[in-house]
């Protein structure tokens, strides 16, 4: 089995580290506010300034600053938000579960839906139903995720008023057990649908194209000739093999879904890291922004790495030296 190129992921990680380190320090203006956020000015005293200058070693040469920054990160110190008056990590961890819930469920839902309609559409290639699905998704593809979110928000929450407008649960409702879970689910519906609708077109197109090429493979003809039922040929033989590209692009899709979640959370005021970073953007709360960026980027890099590891297991052809299969 081939081991994925760990070096590549290490380089990605280093680029992220370097970016977060260099950005605030190379910008024109005061690096201290660029690192700590504008809110620090409110309580700035000469003593605090001296202490912060010392903590980030801002008067030392750049390489020394980088060393100090790395040491802090390795101790889990991602800085302090003067806006929330709390360590960055604490603030982020409070928001992270909501984002994970939204991103995770959307990733699963969009993958399953894309696979199914992709298989059906590819199987019915050229028929009316295929054309309909293709055209619909192509049109959907033109809508940016935040506009899909806005339309759903206006239609279902503002105009029809049948689903909650914002938040992840009803505040101070005192609900518990099953009721609280239903409440959370009700709040999740619109953001989840918005985010999922935005993901479906690209996955569906990929699935449909692979399905079409897979259907031309000899093994599909063999399966048909054996007299297998149509459903078995479509799903167990052709569909299963056509799923490979969808699986292997999961890592990239995680990055896209996370980015999409950022926008969707803002629209529905969903209290995840997207909303958190949006508020940080408005407040110039740079520590939070850097922290969210770091955690999201590392999460996406890890997801890519895991997918890379897994797909040699799913598709044995990738693990072996390709030359054997080349002819």
């Amino acid at each position: 089995m081939k081991i994925p190129e760990i070096g590549t992921y290490v380089i990605s990680f280093l680029i992220i580290l370097a970016l977060i380190f260099l950005l605030p320090r190379l910008m024109p203006g005061d690096p201290l506010t660029a690192i700590c956020g504008d809110e620090v000015l409110v309580e700035m005293t000469p003593a605090l300034k001296a202490e912060l200058m010392h903590r980030f070693a801002l008067d030392a040469p750049l390489w020394k600053q980088f060393f100090v920054y790395l040491t802090a990160m390795m101790h889990g110190d991602f800085g302090y938000s003067y806006y929330y008056n709390a360590p960055v990590l604490e603030v982020i961890f409070e928001a992270l579960p909501w984002t994970l819930l939204l991103v995770g469920s959307s990733l699963v839902l969009s993958t399953v839906v894309s696979i199914i309609i992709g298989i059906e559409s590819g199987w019915r290639r050229g028929k009316i139903s295929d054309k309909f699905m293709l055209t619909t998704t192509m049109i959907l593809n033109g809508f940016p995720n935040f506009f899909i979110g806005i339309i759903l928000l206006l239609l279902f929450a503002v105009y029809l008023g049948c689903l909650p407008l914002q938040g992840a649960k009803t505040p101070y409702s005192g609900l518990s057990g099953i009721n609280s879970m239903l409440d959370i689910a009700r709040h999740l519906v619109l953001p989840l649908i918005a985010l999922t609708l935005a993901q479906i077109p690209s996955s569906y197109l990929l699935m449909r194209n692979t399905m079409i090429t897979t259907l031309k493979e000899p093994f599909v003809r063999t399966a048909k000739a054996k007299g297998l039922s149509e459903v078995a040929v479509r799903y167990k033989h052709a569909g299963r093999n056509a799923m490979l590209p969808i699986v292997t692009t999961t890592g990239v899709r995680v990055g896209i879904v996370v980015t999409g979640a950022l926008f969707i959370e803002i629209i529905f005021s969903y209290p995840g890291v997207g909303l958190l970073s949006y508020n940080a953007l408005l407040m110039r709360d740079y520590p939070i922004l850097q922290g969210v960026f770091f955690i999201v980027a590392v999460f996406v890099i890890l997801a890519n790495f895991v997918v890379d590891l897994l797909y040699t297991k799913i598709d044995p052809r990738i693990g072996v030296d390709n030359a054997e299969y080349a002819h």
């Binding site: 992921y9 380089i11 290639r125 054309k131 506009f147 339309i151 197109l205 996370v258 740079y286």
Partner: protein, 284 residues
């Protein structure tokens, strides 16, 4: 095998529709000064006016005519599309083609860098950088291009590698063609379809990212940007203004992205031989 890509694009229904929509947006962008009835930046006392004969799409919170702003926003969007498209394609071509042609350690280093960059979610990097830089249109085009060239470069590299091995190139070499001649006469002309595809994809991404950033509020306030208009309009969702402020702006943005997506899809179909044959059967 020679395929007339322009012909393929016109034959494909999505391609046709996409081109028509893009021409429409282009027309609006070019003639906005004549079509607009008010100065898009001019505030007035008539705020939150519903649509009327004077103001086709009403006015916004500081009394600017929304219809005029909508027309004017097309220019900004297309400028970003063109800028990001050209600049990203240029970067992808120079980096991808040089990696394929030079080869060796240079190629290995660049490929490793591309692999590493592809894993990083580019949009989030752009948001972080833009939060510090606060870009105007030109710096934004530069920023988007410099952070999103990697996918295109990989495509260009792969295509150049396969072109390098073509019979015609071998033939030219046996006739004593030098490197420069081969690059200018054989590699670059044959790269053009893939470059056009890279251009369209980059332009689409550019429009989307510009709108997204502006929607987050990261934009030059003096420019008339659809994303920025949506950013402002969403704050007043509880009023009725979204019907003529938020929705038309979002639709204008979607139509532009849709046009580019359609063209991109048609190109992709034209370039994938397996799909091309079959889509022709389908869509005629």
């Amino acid at each position: 095998m020679h395929i007339n890509y322009w012909h393929e694009l016109i034959r494909n229904n999505f391609g046709k529709l996409g081109l028509a929509m893009l021409c429409f947006v282009l027309f609006i962008a070019l003639f906005a000064p004549f079509l607009a009835r008010y100065d898009p930046g001019e505030p007035s006392h008539a705020i939150f006016m519903p649509p009327s004969v004077d103001h086709w799409l009403g006015t916004n919170d500081i009394g600017q005519d929304i219809w005029s702003r909508l027309l004017c926003g097309a220019k900004n969007t297309l400028l970003v599309a063109l800028g990001v498209g050209v600049f990203t394609t240029l970067l992808s071509t120079v980096i991808g083609a040089s990696a394929a042609l030079v080869g060796g350690i240079y190629d290995r280093i660049l490929m490793r860098l591309i692999d590493a960059l592809i894993v990083i979610p580019a949009f989030i990097v752009i948001i972080l950088v833009a939060a510090y830089v606060l870009p105007n249109v030109w710096t934004l085009i530069f920023l988007i291009s410099i952070l999103t060239w990697q996918g295109g470069a990989r495509l260009v590299r792969a295509q150049t590698l396969s072109l390098k091995e073509r019979m015609s190139v071998y033939a030219a070499r046996t006739f004593g063609a030098n490197k420069r001649y081969i690059i200018v006469r054989h590699i670059i002309p044959n790269l053009s379809p893939i470059l056009f595809a890279v251009f369209i994809h980059s332009a689409t991404r550019g429009v989307f990212i510009e709108a997204g950033l502006a929607f987050l509020g990261i934009a030059d306030i003096s420019t008339v940007s659809w994303g920025l208009m949506m950013h402002h309009a969403l704050r007043f969702y509880y009023l009725d203004v979204w019907k003529w402020w938020l929705i038309p702006t979002g639709l204008a943005l979607s139509v532009t992205i849709m046009a580019l997506v359609f063209i991109g899809h048609a190109l992709e179909t034209a370039m994938d031989p397996r799909l091309r044959v079959m889509e022709q059967e389908e869509w005629q």
